[in-house]
Symmetry: C2
Subunit: 253 residues, 2 copies
């Protein structure tokens, strides 16, 4: 099972949009995908129409050991299971703070789930305990980067966190990919930013640029992925292309 975390402590850069649509495209291409919402804002869950406010079997309950992974699953599409989040997760960082081995709450809770080709985690915009749990479970970090002037600011803090987790807790962890998001093809700014990103991450930046496309912003309000909502849009084309690129990197297809 390939384990991927979508991480960037900056907000609004495309983590959720990528979690939802990359997962949907991989599932549509026949891969079995486990999508884990680890953000108290639960945007990934809401994007699939899963409002888990009253639910007692979410990623929060999983971290606390109140339920099993199998109990927390919601099948949202063929080949696509979701572990949803809700606002209770906001308390998890404080509640787990004093626990021994608190970085491994997620990893330990997911031991029994191996029946997938991909596990993909949508992370909150921070570098706290929820992110550390994701980083202690996965082997691959993909960084969605917004193609704008400040895109690379703060990336060194992310590197530092990944480095600490790798050296102390999870030697298999690596920053494997950078996804250029919100790419505005009409202007020079996005192109300059991507050139800069490629200098910092040689060989790791995905060839696929996710272009700005209002369909991607509209789809969540309909509870649909982009390939259902607007299958011919640029957004759908780009995420299908990204899914194929991700599979190729894993030697599939």
């Amino acid at each position: 099972m390939h384990r991927i975390a979508l991480v960037n402590q900056k907000g609004g850069v495309g983590k959720t949009t990528t979690a939802v649509n990359l997962s949907a495209c991989l599932a549509a291409l026949g891969r079995r995908v486990l999508l884990i919402d680890l953000d108290p804002q639960a945007n990934t869950s809401i994007s699939f129409g899963v409002r888990a406010d009253e639910r007692q079997r979410t990623s929060y309950n999983l971290l606390r050991g109140d339920c099993t992974a199998a109990e927390s699953l919601v099948t949202v599409r063929p080949n696509l299971d979701l572990i949803p989040a809700n606002i209770d997760l906001a308390g998890a960082e404080v509640e787990l703070a004093g626990t021994i081995g608190r970085e491994f709450a997620l990893r330990d809770s997911l031991r029994a789930l191996t029946n997938y080709d991909y596990a993909i985690i949508d992370c909150p915009p921070s570098l706290g305990l929820l992110n550390v749990n994701a980083l202690s479970f996965v082997t691959e970090v993909y960084i969605p980067l917004q193609c704008e002037y400040f895109a690379l600011h703060g990336v060194s803090m992310l590197f530092k966190t990944v480095g600490v987790v790798k050296s102390r807790v999870n030697p298999a962890l690596d920053i494997q990919g950078v996804i250029p998001c919100m790419y505005d093809a009409r202007t020079g700014l996005s192109r300059e930013v991507v050139t800069e990103i490629e200098k910092h991450f040689p060989g790791r930046v995905f060839k696929t640029r996710i272009r700005t496309n209002v369909r991607l912003a509209e789809a969540p309000s309909h509870g649909k992925s982009i390939i259902e909502y607007a299958p011919d849009s640029n957004g759908a084309q780009d995420y299908r292309a990204l899914a194929l690129e991700v599979m190729a990197r894993h030697g599939e297809r």
Copy 2:
């Protein structure tokens, strides 16, 4: 002196772009503006070309009492003084955590600075001690909201924080304004989102919509405000209109 904090714990919604350009427009219209960068990412400072990494007189030093407010000022434009930030500010939350009266570090450090019409604070995307310091100093909260589906998610957390500061620490504090940012005039989504926002904040949403305009994203890389970089652009028009609306609300002009 009118004291305004630009607050929203979500990232990438337009706080910095508004801090920079609203301040620049107010200054150009003859108001004396004190702009305070309270974000360790220092995007507001960088947008004016002020890289304060080595500087020992920043908002961080101010909070710790290492320098006076007057010593921390940088005049970036006529009528516009900046108190810059740098990454050291990331440590402030932890360092001040144990201090008695830690919410008042900013307020107390700014007592001597009254020679301005407006003090405007750019806040980081969080609800921690830096934000609490801003909220303990100002009387007005403006919330920049990105005109997208998830705009109102999480706003209740912001309300809660403002409410706690108001009741325990700063009775004069109020959420006075909501600024619709990144408004995409070509699609229905932004219009629907603003209608929703106006239901939640009757009478407080600014009439000015800040439309998406790539010039606003380009200007920071040139160290310029939008009215210098692209004075005829939609971005410049919208921020000038917002500045006039802000002044009208304060009975000016």
